[in-house]
Symmetry: C2
Subunit: 464 residues, 2 copies
């Protein structure tokens, strides 16, 4: 068994297969091109922000631990070609440059995602950072440590963007988020994104919406010694059609796309988002000996019935389990997702599951929407925190289609109730009677999600 990619999906698959089959039954080789395996990319903003003290804390299992468990994990080794008919992979040792072929009976493709990095002038200048890998995080921290100025610009206002805005704010920077969308968090409807915008304002984060970046402006790097041939340049500002924003450091949080260069070259099936297409057992469609999982695949959205690309560590881990079970001779399937995601900016919590309005419209659904204000605890209990819950329900059937929540402590994980209800295909009317935990420190007597469900039930009845 050969695994391409040593992060969550790949190493979960390898570990699970090893649990089911000992080294005498199954040889497992894994290639990882970076310096780290099995790390939490989702934790990088908290490491940069100082909540997490050291990069090693983000590593779930070291290469040595994997090797002790009988997985031949080869670090700094990049797979460069998959020979599907020949059932072999060509890999390059990035230290020595040496290449060799490794045969496989079973192949796992877990090549992850790559950050979107627009081809803009200045994008490669010193001081412009992505935050995809631990090495990226270290490079950013090194920049921050040596920085004289205090102005940071974050490009993009999705999950990574707002989390990095928090991290840089905690590091004492003046933070400006440059966002090409109508509101921050394009993963929310604009009316809910507006709440995030307002809260970010309140936190002292400047958000500029509708601003497409046109250029990264650079200038002499006065803090560094001259290099041969002249003065070193570094980032000075981010230019957009809405104006220029001075920057001592720029963080790119524009998003990622599936890293499927190898798979494409090998002729494996890709979807409309560029991700590998798999069946329910995470086998690549049409191939009974090749599996794929994690950020390089598309997943079935159970609400819309469409394939989506949702790069999230939690899915990657689940995929790895399924793949490892199958490759180890067992049986398990991944039924799909409902599009749940949670995040926070300082004490503002943000969550969604199911479909946004535009996503529901795009697949032909007609729906009602309701928005309610409630609190995390009984109103009379100390620290009852406000939250806004928006709910979409299908017209006629009343089936739940989606929930978005923006609030303070206790808001985000309430979305899980809706995620399970979506999975079960519940109507909002059935949800009104859900037996959720109630005690004054934990919830109003009607949980905010139930309040939304009641209002949605009435809206469905009115809409007919």
């Amino acid at each position: 068994m050969v695994v391409i990619g040593g992060d969550a999906a790949g190493m979960s698959a390898a570990s699970q297969a090893r649990r089911l089959r000992g080294p005498e039954e199954l040889e497992i080789v894994a290639f990882e091109r970076s310096h780290s395996a099995s790390y939490s990319a989702c934790g990088i903003p908290y490491w940069v922000g100082g909540d997490v003290g050291h990069r090693d804390e983000l590593v779930a299992r070291t290469p040595q631990e994997h090797r002790r468990r009988g997985i031949d994990l080869r670090m700094r080794t990049e797979a460069v070609e998959i020979d599907v008919p020949g059932r072999r992979v060509r890999a390059r040792d990035l230290e020595s440059g040496a290449e060799s072929w490794t045969d496989y009976d079973k192949l796992v493709i877990a090549t992850g995602a790559r950050p979107v990095r627009p081809r803009l002038p200045g994008i490669d200048a010193p001081g412009v950072h992505g935050v995809q890998t631990l090495d990226d995080g270290q490079a950013l921290l090194d920049t921050l440590a040596g920085l004289e100025g205090r102005r940071a610009v974050v490009v993009g206002a999705g999950y990574i963007g707002v989390e990095m805005a928090e991290a840089l704010l905690k590091r004492g920077f003046d933070v400006t988020v440059v966002n090409r969308g109508e509101q921050p968090m394009a993963t929310l409807d604009p009316d809910m994104g507006r709440l995030v915008h307002e809260a970010m304002d309140g936190l002292g984060i400047t958000t500029v919406n509708g601003a497409e970046v046109t250029k990264i402006l650079t200038g002499p790097d006065t803090g560094s010694p001259d290099v041969p041939g002249g003065t070193r340049e570094r980032v000075r500002a981010v230019a957009t059609e809405e104006g220029e924003f001075p920057a001592d450091v720029v963080v790119l949080g524009i998003g990622v796309e599936p890293e499927t260069t190898l798979a494409r070259a090998a002729g494996l099936p890709l979807g409309t988002h560029g991700g590998l297409l798999t069946d329910l057992s995470m086998r690549v469609r049409g191939y009974d000996h090749i599996w794929a999982g994690g950020d390089c695949v598309e997943v079935l959205d159970l609400v819309s019935g469409r394939e989506r690309h949702i790069p999230l560590g939690t899915h990657a881990n689940k995929h790895g389990q399924i793949i490892g079970a199958g490759a180890g001779g067992g049986y398990a399937t991944f039924p799909g997702v409902v599009g749940t995601a949670v995040s926070k900016v300082c004490d503002l919590e943000i969550a969604r599951t199911g479909l946004l309005e535009k996503e529901a419209l795009a697949v032909g659904l007609r729906f009602v929407t309701v928005t309610v204000e409630s609190t995390s605890r009984a109103g009379y209990y100390p620290d009852a925190a406000p939250m806004t819950v928006k709910m979409l329900a299908e017209r006629r059937t009343g089936r739940l289609l989606g929930v978005q929540i923006v609030g303070r402590e206790g808001a985000a994980k309430r979305v899980d109730v809706a995620a399970v209800a979506l999975t079960a295909g519940m109507t909002v009317e059935r949800m009104t009677a859900l037996d959720l935990g109630y005690a004054p420190p934990f919830s109003p007597v009607w949980d905010p999600v139930l309040v939304a469900a009641r209002k949605a039930t009435a809206a469905v009845a009115r809409a007919g």
Copy 2:
């Protein structure tokens, strides 16, 4: 329409019916024997403990507000007889003693529950308090304010018992909880109750298990002036077969039973727990013009298929909505409960849903159990708090039967995921793929409930 009982179920029913039918269409009279209507009994421990400053904060809607909405709410008025054939209710004005009959077309019985008060010597002595009503809470606070000693004994270690232990601890008392069960929280399996016991020890609350109270010991009340006929007596200790526990104040938290004296006298159908039996629209079985809801009814447990008595404000509010819809000419049903409950003792959170081991055995279910340790956030994230999750799954089918959680911040409300999964009849294997919200501040990459589901899936497979 006549409503007997002016708390959550009764006044929710009245309010919902009024929303659907104006005063010209439907006259609504409600009788409440106490001084308070529409209050949160669940909030009393937090008022006694000082988290909530004033009893008025626990009142969701005052009698005046109800009256302004066109509900003729008569306080300090006790219904004393239901004449079912004559469709009328006899009520007594508790101030004047005057009685009169009121005719009804529609009757709502929402008489609530009464505290279990064992007939023990000394149980009525000054210093012994129940905490069922706001008046009870006020009486307890008056006692605490005038107290010289600092020793409190709480009888009972269920929800009210442990919440009152917290409240008295916050008031600076030495607190002993006298519990006849094997462990505190008989609503948990003993292995999970033991975790609560250990945590209460850690908080400085002494818990004595297996201790049945035999007598309340009294002595002269040296703090009060003599009364005619001799010295006033007050509580001094609680005697059990396990020994005597000195007490300057005693709080009874033994539980409640349905208050169905009137209903029984009127020949209405009661279940094995003494609660009224209703149909899915909350009509009393066999009567199309009498509804009942809240703590005086039994509810269908969707997991066991049996009727249970679960006195909880959140159910009472839901019942009220259903009754109000029906009595107002609309249509709604209450499908039943899955037995969810959450509570806390200081920073220890306690939750359950579905069936305990003994409850599952009692209805003929065979099952596997698993227990896992996890954390509320990613392990590397600050303030990741430990939690223990126990899960029961049916043998062969793998259907989820119950979940219990004991932990710190972020533990209790995770039970909601299991509550929805129980409602949907999910298997633990299906649960392993649930798309729950993941980000390091909110969850490990495998949510604790999913970790339990994975382990339970394996246990079901092994058990065959």
